[in-house]
């Protein structure tokens, strides 16, 4: 099983990752010759469309790299999934802070977003990932393979209400653009069990998906978003990234209705303060 989780950057980072599983990916930037970071300008890209936020990275993977992987994932440079394959007895002496975080995640009962300003913890997570063994990578792959989609802690609130919360002046925009997504939806899903948006939203556009689902999901949302970007040049910053977050729920509901054994799960993640990962 081939898997790549892309860590999405908007500037070239010194915390770059290039392992069997994790790969730093920057949008719209040249990278130095000795850098291990990948850049989306190496292929078909939308790197100049800044309102797409991390969707720029996703576009690049969708258009250029999908044939290489069975699963692809995306996280942010300062928001990192917690996927630790080590038994706690191994992890504890290496980083007590990571072990404490694991206890917090375990006791939370469901996926959580652990906000922290700890630079030490950030360094521990990056260093740990760099030192994962082949056996560790296999454990992570096996875990992911047993799911169809994993995603960051979602927002359990109707998508429209939640969108208005982050773009209070864009309610009209939301109502104007939804028919386009519905039209595209019915082309992708002739047998539709849900009308987008759903009663809940994804968050942060952070997920790990089986490639066939990622392709399908992108084929639904991305052509519409690109058209909307042309049509609404004055739309707010990052708006298309925010819209996309709120469409994930409908996609997962549809897949669950298509096949009840569809496996999805919300994963815990760290959110590091900007200073912690500077």
């Amino acid at each position: 099983m081939t898997l790549k989780i892309f860590s999405c950057h908007h500037v070239v980072t010194s915390h770059e990752l290039s392992t069997a599983i994790y790969q730093s990916l920057v949008s719209g930037r040249e990278v130095p010759a000795d850098s291990q970071t990948w850049t989306d300008i190496a292929g078909e890209n939308i790197s100049t469309r800044e309102k797409f936020s991390e969707l720029r990275h996703q576009f690049y993977v969708w258009k250029n790299l999908l044939n290489d992987y069975d699963y692809v994932g995306f996280e942010h440079y300062r928001r990192l999934f917690c996927l630790d394959p080590r038994p706690i007895n191994t992890a504890l002496p290496i980083s007590p802070e990571m072990a404490t975080s694991r206890a917090r995640f375990a006791l939370a009962g469901s996926a959580m977003d652990l906000e922290t300003d700890s630079a030490k913890l950030f360094q521990d997570v990056i260093r740990t990932r760099r030192h994962f063994t082949d056996a560790d990578h296999e454990k992570i792959s096996a875990y992911i393979k047993d799911h169809d989609i994993l995603f960051a802690k979602p927002i359990m609130q109707p998508a429209r209400d939640n969108f208005v919360g982050s773009h209070s002046h864009s309610l009209e925009l939301w109502d104007e653009i939804m028919p386009a997504f519905k039209q595209s939806w019915h082309k992708i899903f002739p047998t539709s069990f849900v009308e987008p948006p759903a009663a809940w939203s994804g968050y942060l556009n952070m997920y790990i998906m089986r490639t066939e689902f990622f392709y399908e999901y992108m084929s639904w949302i991305m052509p519409v978003l690109l058209e909307l970007d042309d049509h609404y040049p004055a739309a707010a910053a990052r708006v298309w990234g925010h819209v996309a977050e709120r469409l994930l729920g409908a996609y997962i509901v549809q897949k669950t209705m298509e096949r009840p054994s569809f496996r999805f799960k919300a994963l815990p993640h760290f959110t590091f303060g900007r200073a912690a990962c500077a």
Partner: protein
Amino acid sequence: MRVHVFSTVSSRRRSFGPAQVSNLFTSFFYPGQIDYQLSDTDHSILAAPNVEQLYYAMQSFINDNDYLGFEDAAAPLFIDFVPSPRLSLEFPTLFELRKTVANQWHRPFHTVTSRDLIDYEIMRSRCDEADLGEFHRWLARVDVVMPFPTYGLADNFRMAHLKPGWEVFTFIARQCGVFKHISETFFGVEFWSFSSAFILRSDLLQPFADGFFEAALMFHRLRPEIDCYDLSFIFQRLLSVYLDYLLYKNDLLKVANIPVLHCLPSEPPSVLPVDFNADTYLRLNRDVFNAGMPGASHYLSAGWREDRIWSLT
């Protein structure tokens, strides 16, 4: 893949009508009808439905199954693998329920009527080999199945009026089996409720069961006043401690959260059940007794919603 789910038919479930015929992976379990063959102890303390169920399963089924599951037939796990087109045709109400669950998958339970519950039992009983295969493929990708934990008002009430206090149970449990290895932190957090409904890989269930029964017998020896209803509650709490610990130990433990179906009347009852006896109610719900509350008013105000039992028959 071998899996067996025990569905306990309580007096509460019986009040909805006869249970439907069991099927390929579920069997109904009738409390109080099992010969435990316990020779060295008074087993009355084990007579709480969830504890009794586990004891029976551990004696007779653990070696023959890859997974064992437990649930209350009045609040079963929503195991749902009939293809949507067939479900919408044969069980339109359950099809709508599937949609609701897909949209509100984070909820630990969904309230249904007794008619829905019986339909659900019929659906299960009509599962064919293909449905079962779908369930097995899904389960093979999972280590633990349980509802999302949630803060439960009833649990907090029980905790507040538990005698002896939780710290006594913690002290004793931490001398037994797997619980010896679990840090006190895991016993001290806010408690979560998930109705004793779960499916667990057998190799993960065994250490819990060994530790729990060792602790249960020690509770009984050291604090004879503890009865099976206290133990039923302690069982849920220790299971919660154990599952949190498993997740801590193994960050990649595969947990599938599915809801239980909670069957409630559409309105609060205005009268008590015909066979309700306040003394029996207080005996079976010792936390209510400890709180000094009258049985009848507690049942009418909260007990009915909390699935409190009021009768042994």
